[in-house]
Structure formats: structure tokens, C-alpha cells
Amino acid sequence: MEKSRKGPIIFSTIKPFAGLKESLKIGRSEVLDQVRNSNIRGRGGAGFPTGVKWNLTATATDNKKYVICNADEGEPGTFKDRVLLGEYAKLVFEGMVICAFAVGADEGILYLRGEYISFLPELDKTLNQMRKDNLLGENILSKKGFNFDIKIRLGVGAYVCGEETSLIESLEGHRGEPRNKPPFPTNTGFNGHPTVINNVETFAAIAHVVLKGATWFKSFGTDKSSGSKLISVSGDCRKPGVYEIPFGTTLKKVLKMVDAKDTKAVQVGGASGTCVSKKDFKRMIAFEDLSTGGSIIIFNQKRNLLDVAENFLNFFAEESCGQCTPCREGIPVLIEKLKKIKNIKATKGDIEDIFSLAETMQLASKCGLGQTASDALISILNSFKKEYTLAKS
């Protein structure tokens, strides 16, 4: 089944480790330039410009730097990283080695989601083969002084550890809680050293960028979102699965591609994303419009969206690290109010409270989890007014 997938960038054919060889040939500043000029942005969901991240780490002064691959894929409805880790592991590792070369790191860590432990033997095998082939270890591909190795560390199932700073906390052996930012990991990361943390998919795209050039990469996607995106489509459709689409693809096109019928709503971006109604299906997947780490969940007319919202909120209540007040204490209030809505007991005042509290959570929470926990509920309340009625107060 290997390489049976088709797509413009990541699923296109490439000679293994050709990108790395090219990188060593053109030198680190050229690699940094290529990555920056490609405008590639982080594929985990937040969309931070990868080139900026790499440059910040490259220019940080420290004799120890790390490259970390965030493989803690935990967003409900995302399963694209498991395809990459299962079928394109070499490409991911190659991206990490190129990154290490560019920023001057000598240690890499793949933070693997605990539930993906079944990938571990195969990944270890790949790493060992790379060591044998001098693609890891000392003086990689005879490049003097370029030493880099990758180890794999397992998470233990906390959703919040997909957030980069809590991932670092977890790696350091602490409770997985997001840190205060600034300082950012590019400056003060793992063990206090400058650290690049990128998503699996970001690393998987790097070899293509270096080998085929920034201009080629930018020929896909939109102005603000270059390249392509892997999406994991699930829910009420006939062809769920992982697809690679260029940024700018509309939801309508995606729905057609996966043969979805009678669609009522699409949840873009997983539990922390937004719920899109039919009138907005012309909107496109892109950082500037519907941003997603990959999760696309389709609901048909039979689904109750208030149940969907409650399901997501319960998920966040379970996964909130409990550190900051808005997230820890806010989510249960939202659940309470949502239950009132479902029982047709909510008043206008309750709806106002929800919106006010959601604003606070978005503005005041320490990390992305709390900032986005209310998004699904709010988008459902806004776009699907027919789904609920208020109590006559």
C-alpha cells in the first residue's frame, strides 16, 4: 500500500533523502532562505511561519539546540500523522535532519503520542537503518561536524501535551502544563535550550521544499497559505480518509471528493475548530479562512449539533490541564448552560453569559486549549439557531 497515495506535495514522489543531500550541498543559510521564502506555515493548526521559527532558533546563541517533532496527534478527528508515521517516516525524519542542519541542533526527539506505540518498532528500525546509512550520527553524509541523532519519547495520552510548551514540560518529566510565553521555545525550550518544535506534517514537507524550491512550493495554495494540507476526513461520508489538498480548496469540493450527502454541518479543525453550516460551504481550507490542523468531521441532517457541542466540551473538560482559571472553571459552566439550552430552560441571559464567558476564555486562557475550547459551541449557537429554542423567561 506504500506510496499508493496521490497528492501535490507530500504524497508526490521524491527520492529518499535527496532533500537532505541537497541541503548539505547548498548550505544552511540557503536552506533557511528556501524555507522562509516558501512561506510554509506550521501544519499543526496554529500556522506559525516555519521559516521564522527556524531562523529564531538558528540565530539563538547556545551550544545546545534541539529539534522536536510533535507527533502527539490528539485533535479529535485527526489521523493524518499516523499515515505519515506509518508510510512516510523517512520523509519526516529527513525533515528533522534538514532542520537540525539548518538551525545547528545536535539532538532530535520525536514525541510520539502514547496511543501510537504500535509504530515504535518500525520507527526504531527506520532510525537504525538511517544510522547505518550515515544519515544520523556523527559527520552525517560525511559533512564534517554535522552530528545529529533522533530518539523517540512516548507521551501518555494527554491532549494538552500537543501544545508545544506542555510537550516540553512533559519531556522534562513534569506535569504536562503549558508554560508562560514569552519566552518561546525557539529561545528557551527543552531543558532551557533553543528548540524547534514542528508538526509531523511540517517536517514531511521540508524535503520537498528544499529539493524542488520555494517557488515551486508556492505555486500551490493561496497567497497567505502556500503549499498543501493533509486533511483527515471522517463522519457522514462515503469515502473517509486522509487526503492531500492544496490550500484554498473549498469545503464544497472536499465534500464532493469524499462523497458526502445530505450534509448539515462540517466541523473544521476538530474539537477546537469551528462548525460550518451549509451557507458557508464555499469557504476554503486556508489559514486565512478555515484553519485546521487536518480534522474535518462531517455531520448529516440526522445529527443533533447540541450533542456535538456537548461532546466536545466534555472532551475539553477531561483534557484541560486545570492550570488556569478560565479554562478549568469556565468549561463546566459552559456545559451547565448548554444542558439548560438542551432542556429548553435557558434564557436570553444564559446565552449572554455563554458569549461573555466564551470571550473571556478566548482572551484570557493561557494556551490554545482554553482559548479555543468554546469555539465549537459558539459557532453552533451562531450558525445553527434553528437547533435550539430559548425558554420564555
Binding site: C321, C324, T325, P332, V333
Partner: protein
């Protein structure tokens, strides 16, 4: 003379938070200064200063809950949010370092809305009512509720308990139902004290502050220092309250209730009555205590002086054995043993180092033993009719009083320990206006304490007192410091050391001639840990005497002292203690007539003699026998 010994940092606080501590980051910055415009007021600050600090500089108050001046940053309560221009979300001002010029609004509509909501969220699960809480009127959450005009519970208010309070400790209590998860206690315990009793457990709304495996205090490594109590913004952490037991004793006409008062509470209790930190009220307090109903009020300083005689003699005997008799089994340096928090710390964490401790009891326990022996004889009262109370700045003293070793009088030597806060509440209950009471003196026969005993209340005080006496014993001359101020051991630096060359030793101490006495002082168990690591790596081989106090600042920063506490407040209290010392005529322990009488009348075989060994010295228990078991405390006699 003083120098800072170098050790590797031992802090276990997360890296991200350590590097952000204001002051530390300044050194890293390239001397840069940045401009912050906060609420249209411009302020220039060193790069890395937090918005909160910058705002403080120009008199702008930003509300805080999880932030504490003594602790590393947390940024978890989110009440200190501000709007930073260019940032999508609101930023926690306590943990936002200014690294380039910023414009900040501290009370925009968005900020006010968010703060109110956060406050309501905190109140939602904050169980109980304010008027039935010990922290009523001294609660940071309550203050904020008032400031932000909370008149109703927007998001509801919990009606049922969710957790059982932990009442297992002799010293402190924990009520998770009042906890707001600010994590000050965690940071106090792991970063300031390096004990590490607490951690957050569970996730989301179930998150709570817990001990190891959620065991009760009595079964974990808690050293009872109570520093967490001092920093808890709400009523979640409190001392074990003994006030009602003491009232019962006072109200019982068959009981003779005596109290000893330690120096640190006297320099701090005024704060409970609205006086500025650093106002000493010793003599007014004597009056208040009598009016409350105590039969006698004694001065713990007199037994502090006794401690110096015993501990100083013990040190000189160790030195003699080591230097003159060439007994290499003698353990040096000798460590002080006045601080029960420190004792528990070393018992728990360094059980193989107990031989380094002085065998002297703390002044409280020496006093307790004397009250039910010497004083009982002298006053002709049966020891069983005496209720011995002590006023201490400390919650660990509550634990110490109940240790099974502390019954050398044949009874529990000290029956009840009151903290500064507890006594203040008793005084208030009597309607007494402490600041305006007349002065009165201590009661005989234990009425006199020297300045040396007094300065026990500050870090370095025991060392200074010991040096004043030991130097004079050995050389016949006063310690060579202007106005007897042994400045190298004073101050708030975590670890301090001093070297004192001994010149012209008298006949008995000729073996010390030309020697240099090397001493070290540390306060806060995080610093104690550094010292112990130095001991283990041989860096203390040429040291002779080490003073360690479990609490930052020494007793004056103890876990039973008025809340709040900060370094600035502790410095004020220290200043008060040192200035009171200089006003006294007797400033050396061996010149205290009470002590001299004691050795003449009661402890007739002298310091470290047989009798004093019987009642003034003790022993320690490796690994603390109480871990994993409930302390066996005998039921009090009715």
C-alpha cells in the same frame, strides 16, 4: 570576611519559570532598557521586567492572586490580565517580560469584563461563607470580590463540600474546598523550601492540590514549616488552631496557665492590629496577655540564652575533643537545632547526618522543661496543674511540642503552642486595643532575656548570640565587632559565612589559640539543602558551626506570623529586632542573671552537665518515625 559559597543551583521549579524571575533576567539582558507606556504613563525599565513590576513602579495597581513576591512566576490565575497592543489575546502581566517597547492598558473594557468573569469563576467553587472563615478580612479573594463589586454569584456558588479537609497534621490544615488552585503552596514548597509536598493532580475541573498519593499530611514528608500557610491567598491552608483549648485552660480555675513569648511574634503581632511591619510591642503585649487571662507571662529569650550556654558549650567540647584529644569521630561542623522545621527536614532528607546536630532542645522546649520542674518547685505548684503555653511565630513548634521526646519533666513540657495570629485573635476577642495598652514587664523568675536571646528571632541571630558568648568564654574579651554587631552573619542573603580568628585564648582553651572559627548561616530549607550538599561533598570540612532556620528570614518569617509576608516585611521585622537588641543593657547570654541563677540553683553541674542533659538535651529520629504512621499523641487530660 563574609563570602558567598558557591554551589550548583538546586531549584526544581520548571526552567521556564525560573528564567523569568525578575532580577535574574536583568543580568542576561544586554544592559538594555525598554519603554513601557502603561495607561498612558511612560516608564523606562530594564529589559525583562514584567509588566506587573513596571506598573508597580509608576503606582499602577494590577490585581493579582497567584503572583507572590517570594515565588517564581506562575501566570495561572489570570486575574492580572492586561491588554498589550499588538497582541490578539490578553496577557498575564505577572509573567509577561517586557523585551521591547510596549503599550499596555490595564483596565480596558475587555480587561474588566475578563477579570470579572474570572473572579466569578473562582467564586463559583469557593465553598463556604466569608464570615465563617478564619481568613475573613485577610483574604485576597475576598478583597478582589469587594474591589470588583461582586454582589451576586454570576455563575452560581457551590453548596456542598467536594473534599474532606485534611486535619491530620499537628501543625497545619488543608481545605481543598477553599482552594483556588493558584499553586502558591506548590511553588512555596518545591521552590522556596525544596520540600515538595504538593503537586496538582487530576485534570480540568477535577484539578486539585494534593500530596503524594493524596495521603494526609501526617504521612508525607511535610516539615510543618507552614510557609505555604503564609502564602495561601484564601482560607484553604491554615494553622491547626489551638485557641479553644487554650481558652478552656484559662477558664479552668484549677489550672495555672503560663505563657512564654518568643521574640519574633513581638516584632510582628502589631501588624495584626494595623501597625506598620517592624513595630515592636513587647511590653504592651505582656499587658494584653495578662488581661486575656494568663497567670504568668515569661520571656523565651531567657531560655534562648540558656540554649546559647548549652549549645556553645557543646560546640567548644566538640572542638576540644577534635582538636585537643584528636578524636576524629567527633562530628563537625555542629548544626543548630532550634528550628523544628529544620529538624524535621534533616530527619526526613538527611537521616544519616543527625549526629551533626546539636543535641540541645530549642528554647521553647528548654523553657517548657523548666516550667514544669524549676518553676513548679519555686512557685510551689504541682506540675500537673500547670498548663504551659507558648507564643511562637511558628507552626512547626506545635509539632515539636507533641514529639514524644519532649516530655522530660514527666509531663508534656509544652501543652499548647499559639501562633502570632492565634494570640492576636484571642486579644481581639477580648476587645483589647493592643497598640494603646500600657506597658508591663515579664514575670519572675524567668523575666530577663538578653539581646542575644532576642536576636534568635532573625536569621543569623543564633550564630551571632553564640559568637558573642563563645568568643568571650575562650578569650576573656568581647567579640571584636563594633557595638557587638556581628554583621557578616546578618542580612537576608540565603547563605552567609564568616571567619573569626581567635586571639589570646585563655588557659583552658589554649588549643584554640590562633585558630579561625568558621561559621555559616542559612535560612529557608532550599538553602539548607545547598548547605547539606556542601557537607556531603566535603566543602564544610573546615567549618565549625552552622546555623539553619527552616523559614526564610528565620523565625520572624515563620509560618505562624501575620499574613502577608514578603522580603520587605521580613526586613522590617529584622530591623525592629536588631534595634531592640541595642537598647538592652544585657546583650550577651552568659551575662543573663536568670541563666546564672539557674546554673547556681538548679542546673548545678553546669552547662552540658548531667542535669541539663536530662532535661535540656534531646535526640533525633532518622527517617522520621512518623512517616506512614499517625503520630501517637496522648489524649489531653481534662
Amino acid at each position: 570576611m563574609a563570602k558567598e559559597p558557591f554551589t550548583k543551583p538546586t531549584s526544581r521549579a520548571p526552567v521556564s519559570q525560573r528564567s523569568q524571575t525578575v532580577g535574574k533576567i536583568n543580568k542576561k539582558a544586554i544592559g538594555g532598557r525598554v519603554t513601557a507606556v502603561i495607561d498612558e504613563i511612560e516608564v523606562k525599565v530594564p529589559m525583562g521586567t514584567t509588566i506587573l513590576e513596571a506598573a508597580k513602579k509608576v503606582g499602577i495597581k494590577i490585581p493579582t492572586l497567584c503572583h507572590h513576591d517570594d515565588l517564581c512566576l506562575a501566570g495561572v490565575c489570570r486575574i492580572c490580565l492586561v491588554e498589550v497592543e499588538g497582541q490578539r489575546t490578553l496577557q498575564a502581566s505577572c509573567s509577561y517580560p517586557i523585551i521591547h517597547n510596549v503599550r499596555v492598558k490595564t483596565y480596558s473594557a475587555r480587561v474588566r469584563r475578563a477579570r470579572k468573569n474570572i473572579l466569578h469563576l473562582l467564586l463559583r467553587n469557593h465553598y463556604g461563607e466569608c464570615y465563617s472563615c478564619e481568613k475573613n478580612n485577610n483574604c485576597e479573594l475576598q478583597d478582589l470580590a469587594e474591589e470588583y463589586g461582586v454582589t451576586e454569584y454570576k455563575f452560581g456558588h457551590i453548596k456542598e463540600r467536594r473534599y474532606q479537609p485534611d486535619l491530620s497534621s499537628t501543625s497545619l490544615t488543608k481545605d481543598n474546598d477553599k482552594c483556588i488552585n493558584c499553586k502558591r503552596c506548590i511553588r512555596t514548597c518545591i521552590d522556596l523550601q525544596e520540600v515538595g509536598v504538593y503537586e496538582s493532580v487530576n485534570r480540568g475541573p477535577k484539578t486539585k492540590i494534593s500530596t503524594y498519593l493524596d495521603k494526609p499530611y501526617s504521612d508525607v514528608i511535610c516539615i510543618n514549616c507552614g510557609q505555604c500557610v503564609n502564602r495561601c491567598p484564601t482560607g484553604a491552608l491554615k494553622e491547626k488552631n489551638d485557641v479553644s483549648d487554650v481558652w478552656r485552660a484559662i477558664d479552668d480555675p484549677t489550672k495555672h496557665v503560663v505563657i512564654q513569648t518568643a521574640p519574633a511574634p513581638r516584632a510582628a503581632i502589631g501588624e495584626e492590629f494595623g501597625l506598620a511591619p517592624g513595630t515592636t510591642v513587647t511590653k504592651k503585649l505582656n499587658t494584653a496577655i495578662r488581661r486575656v487571662g494568663f497567670d504568668r507571662v515569661f520571656d523565651t529569650n531567657s531560655s534562648a540564652d540558656l540554649t546559647i550556654m548549652e549549645e556553645g558549650t557543646e560546640l567548644l567540647l566538640r572542638l576540644k575533643k577534635y582538636l585537643k584529644d584528636q578524636d576524629k569521630d567527633v562530628k563537625l561542623p555542629q548544626f543548630t537545632s532550634c528550628s523544628p522545621g529544620w529538624i524535621k527536614y534533616i530527619e526526613n532528607f538527611y537521616p544519616d547526618k543527625l549526629d551533626y546536630l546539636s543535641t540541645c532542645k530549642s528554647p521553647q522546649q528548654m523553657f517548657g522543661a523548666l516550667i514544669k520542674t524549676y518553676y513548679a518547685q519555686k512557685a510551689n505548684i504541682k506540675p500537673k496543674d500547670i498548663v504551659s503555653v507558648s507564643l511562637m511565630p511558628c507552626v512547626a513548634k506545635k509539632y515539636e511540642a507533641q514529639r514524644p521526646e519532649m516530655r522530660d519533666s514527666g509531663f508534656q513540657d509544652v501543652d499548647y503552642v499559639l501562633t502570632t495570629r492565634e494570640l492576636a485573635s484571642m486579644v481581639k476577642e477580648c476587645g483589647l486595643d493592643l497598640p494603646n495598652l500600657p506597658d508591663s514587664d515579664f514575670d519572675k523568675p524567668l523575666a530577663i532575656g538578653s539581646g542575644a536571646g532576642l536576636i534568635f528571632g532573625a536569621t543569623g541571630g543564633v550564630m551571632e548570640a553564640a559568637l558573642r558568648t563563645a568568643y568571650e568564654l575562650v578569650t576573656g574579651q568581647e567579640a571584636p565587632f563594633k557595638k557587638l554587631r556581628v554583621t557578616p552573619v546578618r542580612g537576608m542573603k540565603g547563605i552567609r559565612s564568616a571567619e573569626i580568628p581567635i586571639k589570646k585564648a585563655t588557659k583552658d582553651w589554649k588549643f584554640l589559640e590562633g585558630a579561625t572559627l568558621k561559621v555559616m548561616v542559612a535560612h529557608g530549607t532550599a538553602n539548607a539543602k545547598k548547605v547539606m550538599e556542601m557537607l556531603e561533598t566535603g566543602q564544610l570540612n573546615d567549618y565549625h558551626f552552622v546555623e539553619i532556620m527552616a523559614c526564610p528570614g528565620g523565625c520572624l518569617g515563620g509560618g505562624g506570623q501575620p499574613i502577608p509576608t514578603t522580603e520587605a516585611i521580613r526586613k522590617q521585622r529584622a530591623k525592629a529586632i536588631y534595634s531592640e537588641d541595642e537598647q538592652l543593657t544585657i546583650r550577651k547570654s552568659h551575662q543573663n542573671p536568670v541563666v546564672q541563677t539557674l546554673y547556681k540553683e538548679f542546673l548545678t553541674d553546669g552547662p552540658c552537665g548531667h542535669k541539663s542533659h536530662q532535661i535540656l538535651h534531646t535526640h533525633y529520629s532518622p527517617g522520621s518515625r512518623w512517616i506512614g504512621k499517625k503520630p501517637k499523641v496522648k489524649a489531653k487530660k481534662k
